[in-house]
Symmetry: C2
Subunit: 411 residues, 2 copies
């Protein structure tokens, strides 16, 4: 397992339902890429006693502790004081921290609020970690048997500090203790037990374990092994697993489905346009999340009203009147219409009933038609997805992108 | 603090960076709505010893424990066996659980995989919690001093089981012990210290505390109090806080910025169209997340290429050539063009440089122009946002929606 490492996230907002803790996953992802594993993670509220107890408990059991949150300027930011109490150090104004904060305000032409001074009150004897993106400096504290890193809770600030200040130190101190290697295959369209049964008969090399995770609607198949020959074993296992799972594998490693589609479009020099009804721009959003999307994405239409389908996509009134906006014919006309309007190689269309209202006995909530237009014409398929509005929209967007992926992989 | 309650989430995927733990926040939100507070939360890997130790440790310290994950059919799903070991009970096939699983497969016309039998192996003496949405039944186990609920990790299944099977029981057993009340004001455009300083001078009633949280780019101002007069105190504090923070308050309570905008559009009977360049459909996606968006959203255009800006939005070639696609003139023409094309009351346009590439000395990454078109013409403002691609896009989408909110609130 390598060095024993825990994450502690601090903030009422993580425990009253306001927001999910995304910092633990971000930390784990960055650490995993360098071979470090997070053993467990704890979240506590902005309460002095709870933070002190968590710090003491974790520092007793672990060699490395990464703490986020509670370094801000307001009264409910208690982390520095809690660290001072937990490890019996005086709390004092840290000149290096004050300098960092002043420099931040100067750099951004902002007036420093007196409350920001509080962010320089730190336990004695810590080392400052620079924050290039915000006002809260981080700090590093050695308890004797635990190396504790205190980072801000704002994700962009935390990530930058982790990569620039924490990782180099971890690699220097613990770089040799990280044996387990893992390779992840992302799958769309096969269930977890189905993957497990297929892989049980795949003849994977001895010493390679298979574990599973679900990031709905994707199944993550994790090939794991350890020891000196780990990389070699995984290089043998991966093609076997890929062949077994076939074209249900959307990516190996970190890539997402939109990233795979973007890579294929770019590699093959194809252009794309989108006509979205029930997904409401979500496909366009996912593709434009990626830098470089302008190389292949010409345009997208979110055609909620029939007038938009008619004006921009030339869907015939007769189709809208006789078959309705949620129909194979409409999806076909949308895909054809946007491909011609945008003068692109490929076009996707999606029309459906995401719910909760709008379903009929013949076309219940979850009925979705997806069209793919290319130089060889339009291919339309109908689906009936289960789930709430978010699930139906998510599955529709993923299925549309997956149709495009399969088309590009064959072409 | 009411009943002492912890959440334990189980799964390697939560600790190797594959996915963030969203279950804790979902559980906390649902519990908070009924007055129950989550004290802390722990995430552990799919490893027998770690799960057993976590279950024993938490069950010793807490009156209620809610556990999610590891109930699936594959070999790395260890929760039921870990619970049997932690609380020294035999693991046995539970007839009620087996019946539940069989019924699920029957209901969905699916063939039951032999591996799904494993999901009926549970600690002796537990009570089954029905799962209407998936194959993994949950269960409830009393240790003597801790009431432990074991729920599936799939969010939709977990949420349904929490609401239908866990909440009624918690309300019956602990309904009287929940005193602290909270009201949340969501703020856009004021920093946390600025809010704190303003509220310090607002003359809030004694006994009302103010805490802060950040859900970037929003600041959450939390008014809290307890005791018999809690609701009354909050009813007095809320309008004072609202007046103090002025029109920077985008919502009170659960509503998000898109929800506030959707409510205002619906109440005022106004229709909307969108022309998005750098936000790439994200504004449309956020509005169509909401059921009922078709009542106000006529259409949206994701005009990545200049040809799309010209064809659909009638942005003059001269503007694109002399001022460029990222310019106040282009944003103005986009807003005017989409409003006329869609024949709507209101239109938003966004054009900018999200990065990481594409910046110039005169228009660095983060330069964004946002236009709002209404019957009284177009209003365009320029912004220079700091941050990476995701942050620039997020701020652009929020600022556009906020401009629309302010316009609708004044109108």
């Amino acid at each position: 397992m390598g060095v024993s490492l825990s994450v502690l996230t601090i903030g009422d907002e993580l425990l009253n339902g306001e927001m999910a803790d995304t910092n633990t996953a971000a930390i784990a992802r960055i650490l995993a890429s360098r071979g470090f594993a997070v053993r467990d993670s704890l979240s506590v509220r902005d309460e002095m006693d709870g933070i002190v107890a968590a710090l003491q408990g974790l520092a007793d059991r672990r060699a490395v502790l990464i703490v986020t949150g509670g370094l801000g300027p307001t009264a409910d930011d208690l982390t520095a004081e809690a660290a001072a109490r937990a490890f019996a150090r005086p709390l004092e104004e840290n000149p290096a921290a004050l300098e960092e904060i002043r420099a931040y305000f100067l750099r951004h032409n902002l007036t420093m609020h007196p409350r920001n001074d509080k962010q320089a009150l730190l336990p004695a004897g810590v080392e400052i970690l620079a924050n290039k993106r915000g006002t809260a400096p981080g700090f590093h504290l050695e308890t004797g048997h635990c190396s504790c890193f205190f980072l801000p809770g704002v994700p962009a600030e935390m990530t930058a500090m982790l990569e620039e200040a924490v990782l180099p130190r971890l690699e220097r101190d613990y770089g040799e203790e990280t044996p387990t290697r893992e390779r992840v295959l992302k799958v769309f369209g096969l269930s977890e037990p189905k993957c497990e049964a297929l892989l049980a008969a795949a003849g994977l090399p001895e010493g390679v374990q298979v574990a599973f995770g679900v990031d709905f609607p994707f199944v993550h198949v994790k090939l794991r092994t350890s020891g000196a020959a780990a990389a070699l074993l995984l290089d043998r296992a991966e093609p076997l697993a890929r062949r077994t799972l076939g074209d249900f594998v959307i990516a190996v490693g970190d890539a997402s489905l939109p990233q795979t589609v973007a890579r294929l479009l770019t590699e093959k020099g194809k252009t794309l346009a989108l006509a979205e009804s029930c997904t409401g721009g979500w496909i366009a959003k996912q593709l434009t999340d990626l830098p470089g999307a302008s190389a292949f994405l010409e345009r997208g239409a979110v055609t909620y009203a029939n007038s938009a389908k008619h004006d921009w996509l030339k869907v015939p009134e007769s189709v809208l009147e006789t078959q309705g906006a949620v129909s194979a014919e409409c999806a076909r006309a949308m895909a054809k219409g946007i491909r011609e309007a945008a003068r692109v190689d490929l076009a996707l269309s999606v029309t459906g009933i995401a719910g909760p209202d709008g379903g009929t006995p013949g076309k219940p909530v979850g009925t979705v038609f997806i069209g793919l237009a290319s130089e060889s014409g339009e291919e339309v398929k109908g689906y009936r997805f289960s789930g709430n509005r978010d699930t139906v929209r998510r599955l529709s967007a993923c299925m549309a992108l997956d149709r495009l992926r399969r088309h590009l992989e064959k072409a």
